[in-house]
Amino acid sequence: MNQSSSKGRKKFNPRQKDKSISINERISTFKEVPLGFTPEQAILEAERCLQCSRPRCVDGCPVMVPIKDFISLVKEGKFIEASLKIKEKNALPAVCGRVCPQEDQCEKACVLGKVAEPVAIGKLERFVADYEAVQGTKEEIKPPERLPYKVAVIGSGPAGLTCAAELAKSGVEVYIYEALHEPGGVLTYGIPEFRLPKNIVKREIDYIISLGVKILTNQAVGANISLNEIIRNYDAVFIGVGAGLPRMLNIEGENLNGVYTANEYLTRINLMKAYLFPEYDTPIKRGSEIVVIGGGNVALDAARTALRTGAKKVTLAYRRTESEMPARKEEIEHAKEEGIVFEFLVSPIRFIGKNNTLRAVEFQVMELSEPDESGRRKPVPVIGKTKLINADIAITAIGTVANPLITKNFKKLKTNSRGYIEVDDNMMTSLKGVFAGGDIVTGAATVILAMGAGKKAAQSILAYLKNK
């Protein structure tokens, strides 16, 4: 029993914590930071689960992973079965176990969390997925009954991959069109190795390929192949192209050498492996003082990446304060441990350069206003107060917007004022048989929401095809 009664109040075993690699190793390599549970820890953690008759955690999960059931299998030491259980609903468990904001989702809803620390659902998910992969047990994929349909999925991020996996499992022939030379979307080009090792992404994509999905790389729809042509050749289409366009600050000096968008910085490092230059051919500048502008996951990923390229000092400059930072808590903690310097309440006004190369960033000092009707405290400038931070590299991570590649030459595909694709309750766009989901519909969100959208769209696509 993992709980004993004392003074009428239940006491619960503490939540298991996995080990991390040392700070020194962290900042000098791109190795994954948390090591994950040992089998003993996994069982101990699984034993904390109350096995509620009406589990709330599942409601907190956009793809409805059977959390209670898989944890029950972990408790019995049936790790592989647990992993397969998750895969019934989630084709990317090792990814989700690592990057989902569980604190806002399943673990937030966890009933145990009301009286103690919630069950470490994410860490358990990661553990079983990794365990299954290492043990190398091949899941018997019994080919489903083939349906006479062909569907094109545009974009191979979590939305596209999930949609493709669901359709393939139902017997549909699926082709993914991906602009880059590697599939995975943000999982491949955005989220760094130390948080999401690329061999794990590859493993999960290989699983999806094993379901029969075909991935066509080097295919940018709207550029080298038209959406029209795709619509013509398939029974239905899913668009999951993400929100890949970097938002620019539009301030002086933004095009100086040394000013990177986070997209470029992270793509060079993650997709092109510039951190391994010259073994890999794509270079990245290794600065000594690096300033990252922004406060979300992307900014933190850029900052922690910058540190690992050997920078002496990495500053994260955010225009609000820590409590407003949209990044995951775990990432903020990790960044602090690693020595990232946080500068709050500053907003960039100018990049200062010499010979077209960055030297410093000038910031406007901000303060938080009184809460407005929505209760939010907006940052407002403190008139006349500025601050200069020396930098040979600056990385802007102030958000992304919809990439108009697909939509600009295809006016029949309705978008909202910000360029995101409009869909109905069934994820269908203004074009019959063309569905969309993920960041290109919602704006930059999360992996799991994109997966949820991909899954829902797959169900709608199946219904659409059968009624066609």
Partner: protein, 274 residues
Amino acid sequence: MFEILRKKQISPEGFLIRIKAPQVAQTARPGQFLILRVSETGERIPLTIVNWSRSRGYIDIAFQVVGKTTYLLSKLKEGDAIIDLIGPLGNPSKIERYGTVAFLAGGFGAAAVLPIARAMRKKGNRVLTVLGARSKNYLIFEKELKKTSDVLIITTDDGSKGIRGFVKDGLSEILNSEKIDIAYCIGPAVMMKFTSEETRKHSIPTIVSLNPIMVDGTGMCGSCRVEVGGKTYFACVDGPEFDAHLVNWDLLLSRLNYYKDEEKLAYESILKQR
């Protein structure tokens, strides 16, 4: 995988490669480019699509060995394959009836000029071309451009062929007897900068095709940003063609040089290995 069907050396460091790429050939238009990668550890580099055959499913690219990637590309043989290739990318040239169109081609810029000049001629324009290079044996596509142009003027820096001087000197020569409605100026950034200074003096609307450093080529990273008329553009999706007289050349030149040291290191180490 994209098979190399034919390979030909066209200048001391320049090559023309024919690649099997039916899908690219199907939609390629003048002014567009592709991005390729030669190995699993390779970088992505943009190259102009020089020529294509829709019916036979091939495309031609031309390049000069200037670094590791082009070096590796030059070492591929017929029958070998390029692992990744995406194209056509970028906006095609606006092929219209302008009247007299001048093409000012510097060095390997001739590769980008050729398909545009052909299309302009076909559209009924009078085509005047200045082809300039360092020296006689660095002139590329001379025969093809001669065929496509009503007038072809050659310039070489060392005077080994044609006018001794730069492309802008060839332009002056043309201007003695012709009125130009629009000019296309394509070549190394410095050449484009100085040549378009000349066309500005003569109030000739001038288009350049810019070649900043690119990564994805689909508008996702911003590596390729250029300043034109004080505004920032992503050359891969907004270009590659821009109004020459509005381009911030100094910015482009310094951005092109940003990785100079790294490029040199990579190139030297591959030369040592081989």
